[in-house]
Point group: none
Chain length 200, copies 4
Amino acid sequence: VGRPRDRRRDDAIIAATLRALADSGFTGLSMESVASRAGVGKATVYRRWSTKEALVTDAIATLAAVERTVSTTGDGDGVDGVDPEPVRECLLATLAALREHNERTLAGRIMPRLLAERESHPDLFESYRNRVIAPARDRIADVLRQGIASGELRADLDVELATDVLIGPIAYPDHRSPTDGVGCIDGVVDTVLRGIGQAP
Amino acid sequence: VGRPRDRRRDDAIIAATLRALADSGFTGLSMESVASRAGVGKATVYRRWSTKEALVTDAIATLAAVERTVSTTGDGDGVDGVDPEPVRECLLATLAALREHNERTLAGRIMPRLLAERESHPDLFESYRNRVIAPARDRIADVLRQGIASGELRADLDVELATDVLIGPIAYPDHRSPTDGVGCIDGVVDTVLRGIGQAP
Amino acid sequence: VGRPRDRRRDDAIIAATLRALADSGFTGLSMESVASRAGVGKATVYRRWSTKEALVTDAIATLAAVERTVSTTGDGDGVDGVDPEPVRECLLATLAALREHNERTLAGRIMPRLLAERESHPDLFESYRNRVIAPARDRIADVLRQGIASGELRADLDVELATDVLIGPIAYPDHRSPTDGVGCIDGVVDTVLRGIGQAP
Amino acid sequence: VGRPRDRRRDDAIIAATLRALADSGFTGLSMESVASRAGVGKATVYRRWSTKEALVTDAIATLAAVERTVSTTGDGDGVDGVDPEPVRECLLATLAALREHNERTLAGRIMPRLLAERESHPDLFESYRNRVIAPARDRIADVLRQGIASGELRADLDVELATDVLIGPIAYPDHRSPTDGVGCIDGVVDTVLRGIGQAP
DNA sequence: ACATAATCGAGACGGTACGTCCCGTCTTGTG
DNA sequence: CACAAGACGGGACGTACCGTCTCGATTATGT
């Protein structure tokens, strides 16, 4: 009995939390700013999440993982062999999707915040890793495993290591000088595919 | 005329600033905490740096770049052929030195802080990039160029791209799951050297 | 709309202000000490009075004037003549009431503070004069005018001057040596009544 | 041995102390402001007076008492009777001299400061009383005693009480409304001389 | 219909952190 | 040594912000 809670407030608060997290990080985030951004009274926030940790944890849990690229799903057998370089194309498509997802959603801006506060709040980054990073790495690893199966990639390939070197320039685009930078996906893929060593 | 300033205070304040920056980031850093960490009155800090920006900028400027590894300097011709794989060894040594420098000094803990606040304070991250990141990338690029000259590496290698894929797992070790993790330098170098594609 | 202000805080703040004013004067008074004395947060004080001047001005305005002595009111005609020396008795009662009021309330301790800072803050002293001093002088002047009307006092008496000489030892009891001092009301009244000159 | 102290600094410091005392009172006075007003380094002040109390005490001790009025000295017998009202004239001259001295020197501005802080620093006010107030009262009392001796004043006069009522309007001129005010010495003297009561 | 009870926005409230300012102590170089 | 200039640590105060609380208004629900 009594006035029921308005479910739309939940969504507004979560969205406001993600925006505040992207703008200020966990420490800089305050329940007051979340309430203000959501156009909601402070009591309405505290009635649902009693602590900042609980609120942010739930907000991170809603971060959608990158959607599975259509081209990687479906086949994998390559019985017809219509595509001469399916692995290279799949990698390019997957990495481009990751980059686009990173730049479009708040996840790309939230990650460095959580990474910076990993020492003081390791659980938050861990939650982010499971929700966003792990699925993204899985997309790449899937392509790599597919390539191994099809014989295009080395059989002794360490998938995790290869994922590391492929995802690095995507996940941390700020590492290079800003003048260079964008649109290097093709170069990264080719560099890693062929290797930098002189062919024997 | 008057009592001269004590130069030791400058050093103590800069050191305290770096520690505070590593612990709290730029926004979370307060002049009061710096003074307290340095065992110094607040007026002593403000007498030298009137704003937080000026103090942090100067502090970042003192961050020592990683020292040039001895093995990369010296020779490079390899005329006698005593070293069968000089490029691989040089890369391993350089990357290990970078990782060690990252973990030992505060630079490794300061970087994610500055990266997280790059949107609001791009100049600070830019300063850090020039002071720490650029020299570190130069170490790797030097080795790569040396390898190209000696014929061990492809002549058409894009040095910047190769640096990206090599430095990624070192600069951002937290990207992988913590259970995996450490000591993958050999794997990264070998993966990039040989390439992941099936040898033709 | 919103939570309404608690009126009891106003009273507590005003009372604390008067105490602080008596203890430290206007310059020495700080909003922080007022808040502390009132058992109130600083924001609660600033929400009501944005400046120290406004707060102290309002506090002084609440200083109650000395209440009108009962014996001076009421009659004045003296038709029955039952009281052979009504003016002397009335003066004694009035001056005693003033002294008692001065010593009991904070007004007596606040006055020298405001007087000392009259140069820098003349408005505060002026407010005090209107609230406390003027009513007190009026009590005496009333008695004097009544005495003139009844024929007990000189018709050509300058009421203001007579008030001056009568109120002086009451308002500034510290002027005399502390060893002498107290309880001289009778002497003052008789001295002023009879004059110090040899009767003609 | 060594450089001797400059005696002129002592005078400058004392003068600066009195000015600071008049402007800010004892609590508001700081050694720094004294040194600044005196055009002297802080160490020069502390070399001579180690505490603020010692400095202010010495400064008050230098406050000159009001000089004895010429008309009160000299004769006093009045055997020839050339002066029909010597007491009235002497009182007027003495009170005028006191008022002039009060307004001209810093003593008049220092007194309310010390009076306001009498509770916290009774010794300072006591020192001031002995140095300034007591001599001033003595000037009046001398005239009164002379008048008693000459028969012009009542033989049973309480000199202290009469001094109280006479000096009040001079010592505390701010008690009256500022619109009235100045030049009331004649009125005060006549009022006290003749008394306010109807002549019998 | 309508009383009930919980939700909701607004804002008061106490507490805390921080930058500014000021003071007394000290440490220089100069006379 | 005296003297000024000024560095130094410490502390007080006003500002701003946050989490908790209290209010009046609103809104479904159950009788």
